[in-house]
Amino acid sequence: MRTPIHPTRTAAAALLALTVSGCSLVGTGDDESATAPGGAAGTDGEAGGTVVLVTHDSFFLPEKLVKRFERESGYDLEQRAGGDAGALTSQLVLNTDSPIGDVAFGVDNTFGSRALEADVFAPAEIDAPAGVEENALPGDDEGTLVAVDTGNVCVNVDTTWFAERDLDAPETLDDLVDPAYEGLFVTPGATTSSPGFAFLLTTIAAYGDDWQEWWEELLDNDAKVVNGWEDAYQVDFTQGGGKGDRPIVTSYDSSPAFTVDGEGGTTTRALLDTCYEQVEYAGVLRGADNPEGAQAVLEWLVSPEVQEALPSSMYVYPVVEGTELPEEWADLTERPEDPWAVEPAEIDENRDAWLREWGDLVSS
């Protein structure tokens, strides 16, 4: 048996090979130009070179802002994502000796103590505007972490659902275990999601050593625990994208800004007595190649233009006082005066034990 090579077939193969390699070459070329969006050839080395910003997955700022930063500061900003807030923190800790960038954004107050413990960050030397100091991480005596944004994890309710049934919506954590609200609550798990962990901390702050009993009552009241925020909000919640059948959900204080009813109002409300404040920080990594560039990025993150962009690009609140909020946010959202909190040192000490105990509670 012998199979001759067909001339047209060979030509087709060659053509295909060319197309493929051609595409990828174009691709690589564009990739490279995309890494230096400043466009100014020769910025590298001249005005401070590249500064590498490591972030969590949800980080995003409009390209316009990034370009402006590069133009005005002379640095090329290179961004790198490293998983969610927990994965980011773990990576930073694992790479303490050889940092994966110059500056990191996205470590929050539930993971911050782990980073402090491992000495991941160097002291930040910037003129922080009002609001940054006030949100500093307790225990960060060296001033390594700069607060960039805040948000609260709060229980949200579907106001239309309760109005239709002529039922009062719950207001407090105690209400959630009330039989009147049996089978209506869905929450993401503490071991598998960051808002879930924040909600567990809420209950620990509220009930102290009795938190486990409260959770038992909650589960007896047919509360549903799912993996991630996406599952809880988008699938089970009545006002989520999937129109589920549970009108109470663990989400954020900013969520009502996204459930507009088309008539200037919103169909959901955050329960302000059930909130846990999350603050996200940025910091210069110890041993950074470009510490000056890192400081410049820190100053940029708390500058008015970035602070104003935070709500629409990352759906969090700015920390800097006097920053203007988008219209819907100002109109439709409310913020808790006095959210629940647990000391970072205490979190660090008990995190594993709490998560294991909680895990046993929900899986049994």
Partner: protein
Amino acid sequence: MTAPRRVLGLVALAGLPLAVLGVFFVLPVAGMLERGFVVDGDLDVGAVLEVLTRPRTGRVLWFTVWSSAVATVLAVLLGLPAAYALHRLRWPGRRAVRAALLVPFVLPTVVVGVAFRQLLGESGPVVALTGGRVDLDGTAAGIVAGLVFFNVAVVIRGVGAAWEGLDVRPGEAAAALGASPAQVFRTVTWPMLRPAVVSSASVVFLFCATAFGVVLTLGGLRYSSVETEIYLLTVQYLDLQAAAALSMVQLVAVVALLVVAGRLRAVPDPTLARSTARPRRPRRSDTPQLVATALLLVLVAAPVATLVVGSLRVDDTWSLAYYRALAADGEQQALQVPALEALVTSLRTAVDATWMALLLGGLVALVLTRRSHGRAERRVRSVLDGFFMLPLGVSAVTLGFGFFITLDSPPLDLRESPVLVPLAQALVALPLVVRTLVPVLAGVDDRQRQAAASLGAGPLRAVATVDLPVVWRPLLAASGFAFAISLGEFGATSFLARPDSPTLPVLIFRLIGRPGELSYGTALAASVVLAATTAVVVLAVERLRVPSLGAF
């Protein structure tokens, strides 16, 4: 050729893939394991082994094994008739169906997870239609269904490619001698098909055992697999000893599985004859296979239909609003980067990942399928075979973290290289490319190459005249597969990609992570676009295949 020259040739061919795998797989994984085993400069094996005695570890292992096994069996049972109907029979629309059945494999797990939960959940159509008797939400059955949904394409492709090339004459001869169709299958077809089935099944099992997103989104909190447990231990607890212990278990299990699969795969007749017959029209006796294929199509279509319907329903009316939102640019709330731009990024990355996977996979397949002279050489080949399958058996978290802790100093400071993302995706696709090519190449009679060589053809020329014509179809199939995998890859990409140039799956993940119907609907629309793009690419690959190929 003399023995030393042969070994040198083997090493030269295997050199590039070995180097790539060494740097981008062995090094990072070893780095992570070292962090687990070495505490304060001392080797602490005891503490790592202690993890294995925890009751929770046992539960996690057991769940991983049985759920993957059940899912693999189901995927093979559902995939075999479809592989037959789609590759041996000729009927209108079969290419479209073939492309459609590949779509699930490349959808981002987050989206499919959400679509599945919507389909199976409390207020979903399945519960409604069955009056609540079938409620799979958050159950092990739901996880298994998800695993089958994703992996049945692997069976159809892998077995289909081999089935397509089977010589039909022995079967026809048997039938002419009075064998029933079942007897023909059992005594003639199955022995020839078995290597491909075992190959596909082992790949499916590995995919199931290392599935992360599916278990996480469909399992609720009651179920944890080795993969999700490694994630938890690393990310939440930073318990590297425990993570290292589980990673070791995973690796050992994969090696064991590959050895077993290698034994089962052994071809009865290494000079497997290639087919010359084209697919034929269906006969009455083909009805069961066609019905089974239709049924599979319905099962696969249900979650996809949930996505499509969801993307078209705005405020309980039909609308294209979510698709219009896809074109919106970064200034608008729903989308930070236009979906079109993300799609272009995805396509571009996929092109790079595809040629990398084909280059590496092609070399590996060549190395593995040359006839071995002597025991030692055969052993070297089988070790290499297993080695190139290993990436399937390592947690994405371990690999991702490993990248960052090992490739951090010159000359290997690759953390900032734009090559990382396509390369990581190519590594994910590599085992599939190898598994698609090897059965076909192995079926080429080595005497043809010898004949070519004796007529004066150099090694390259011999490959071009003997192997290429036969491997051409599977090569295209493999490239389509690699391309599709790269399009949908999310785990490694989200770890390594730049936030400012997201791929489409990363963009979808961001959209689904924010409240509001517009974001959710747009995520569904983007998923439909991703699915459609994949289907078009796969369909194009199918079209490109020269029909008369393999004929004299």
